[in-house]
């Protein structure tokens, strides 16, 4: 007998697996983006995060979704390093913290996402417009919260589209946070690695949820 609870957990685990696979696959491509700002580790950092999560998958599996997110976030925060470890870890952790224990509505999910993005901004002492992952996460959270009352497929489409638009807009920005800030004007027109991973992740999560909803 499968409860809603089980189904949600199963979906969460399926999304986790897909995200990890996608990030491991994208490693070289993301390193290349990061190299343009004189670094080159963004792909490694995200692959390390993915591997850290896969390493505790058995531990995550029986947990409720909020607990699963908190445990996953803590693992990423603690063990990944780089700027993206703390930032993506915080995103997961705060998303978990923002959800009610027990049944969560779509609105709860959207609200928690917004709170999680705010947590990232706090951790990074940064704001939208500085050419970071926030330029994807911020618009995505707003779009999802704004569309959450519509049917789920539309809300997910809005989420996904906002991530793509945010990523595109971010390309034209002048970096003022992270390693890329030192590139100055030369950053304009280049993709931010963190914004790119944020878009990839948001799109993947939206697609997975849409699959489940269909």
């Amino acid at each position: 007998m499968t409860t809603t609870q089980d189904a949600t957990q199963a979906t969460a685990l399926a999304i986790l697996d897909a995200l990890c696979a996608r990030l491991i696959e994208a490693e070289a491509e993301l390193n290349a983006l990061d190299r343009a700002v004189g670094d080159g580790d963004h792909g490694h950092n995200l692959a390390r995060a993915a591997n850290a999560l896969l390493a505790i998958r058995d531990e995550l599996a029986p947990l409720s979704v909020p607990e699963m997110l908190k445990r996953a976030g803590k693992a990423v925060v603690m063990s990944v390093g780089g700027a993206s470890g703390p930032l993506y870890g915080t995103l997961l952790l705060e998303q978990g913290k923002g959800l009610p224990e027990g049944e969560a509505s779509r609105a709860d999910w959207a609200r928690a996402f917004t709170l999680a993005v705010e947590g990232v901004a706090r951790r990074g002492k940064s704001a939208e417009g500085e050419k970071t992952m926030l330029d994807v996460l911020g618009p995505a959270a707003r779009a999802f919260e704004g569309a959450v009352d519509q049917d789920f497929a539309s809300a997910l489409a809005a989420l996904s589209q906002a991530a793509v638009d945010g990523h595109l807009h971010c390309r034209g920005l002048h970096a003022s946070r992270g390693r890329a800030a030192y590139v100055g004007e030369r950053s304009v027109g280049q993709d931010d690695p963190g914004a790119t991973t944020a878009m990839i992740c948001v799109q993947l999560v939206a697609a997975k949820l849409a699959e489940g909803a269909a």
Partner: protein, 329 residues
């Protein structure tokens, strides 16, 4: 790849294993989470820790030892260590007298040190080194990058902690040394991270990057390689304009090789820099010419100047005994 490697992913692990064994008289390597600490700690002393991405040897693990750091926390190549590593190092060496974190100004290092200190239970303080005047952008929002000047902070504050300086004293001194220090680099080529197929910083042959960062971050200007004198003049003008040292101030002049530039050229740069300071009536009180904050095998160098006061000067001369820096008998 034109490197001595087994599995590229294991480069940091194997290298640290070799390092710890070769210097087993001075340091001890912990694994999981990974950090390097002094073999014997001095009870009651303020503990100094630093850390950051690997690939800048001897910084920081090479500066663990008497008169400098108590622990160093190495991340992957050019990548900040994790919160967990920093916390473990802090717990291993932190004392009742306190723990001072010396952090280079990079987002990842800042966040991971900050989170580790949120979790660490003892008295602690942190300070951020931002000595690099070379970058084109950044300083208004994220401040300046932390580069070779970090070594000067670690040496001077390390000596002070050894003499019994308290936590707040160490922190204030670290801030003063950092405030009195400026660095700027130049690369004649890129460097290659073991796990990457491509170099960081792709410079066409015959071009140089003025103001380069220690990971190959672009600097303020790219152009054809000119004479050593002209290059040094450009770096020194920028450093001195920013620093405005008084004529009587004793200066530390530190030429730092970035890895691929042999001592012969480092000393040519030193000679050029010293001549410029002479011509301006400034005083070179102390000198060091060595690759102490490198960027893997990058051909290039940086110049660091510190305006020393009497206390800093005396602490600079104090004995230091680490794998990467030694003097005083």
């Amino acid at each position: 790849m034109t490197k001595f490697l087994n599995r590229p992913e294991d480069a940091v692990t194997e290298s640290l294993r070799g390092f710890a064994r070769a210097h087993a008289d001075l340091v001890h390597l912990e694994d999981q989470p990974r950090f390097v600490r002094r073999k014997t700690l001095t009870p009651g002393k303020v503990a100094l820790i630093s850390g950051g991405g690997s690939g800048h040897d001897p910084m920081h693990a090479g500066f663990v030892g008497r008169g400098m750091l108590d622990a160093a926390v190495p991340g992957e190549v050019f990548s900040s260590p994790s919160t967990e590593q920093i916390l473990a190092a802090a717990e291993a060496v932190g004392s009742d007298a306190g723990l001072l974190c010396i952090i280079k100004n990079y987002a990842g290092d800042l966040m991971n040190f900050e989170m580790a200190m949120e979790l660490y239970d003892g008295p602690n303080a942190s300070m951020v080194v931002q000595d690099d005047v070379g970058a084109a952008g950044g300083s208004a929002t994220v401040g300046r990058r932390g580069v070779a000047g970090t070594v000067v902070v670690e040496k001077i504050v390390g000596a002070f902690a050894e003499q019994g300086g308290d936590l707040e004293g160490c922190r204030l001194l670290a801030e003063s040394v950092a405030a009195a220090t400026r660095s700027m680099g130049v690369a004649l080529g890129g460097c290659r991270v073991p796990t990457s197929e491509k170099p960081n910083l792709e410079l066409p042959l015959g071009e140089m990057e003025i103001g380069v960062g220690i990971h190959g971050e672009p600097g303020r200007r790219r152009g054809p390689i000119t004479s050593a004198d002209a290059i040094v003049e450009e770096l020194m003008e920028t450093l001195l304009a920013d620093m405005q040292p008084k004529a009587a101030t004793p200066l530390l002049l530190f030429i730092n090789g970035l890895g691929g530039t042999p001592p012969m050229e480092q000393y040519i740069l030193y000679d050029a820099a010293a001549r410029i300071l002479d011509a301006k009536g400034l005083t070179v009180a102390r000198s060091i010419v060595a690759p102490l904050c490198s960027s893997l095998e990058m051909p290039g160098a940086s110049i660091t100047l510190t305006a020393l006061d009497d206390q800093m000067l005396a602490l600079w001369d104090d004995p230091v005994h680490t794998p990467g820096l030694r003097w005083g008998v």
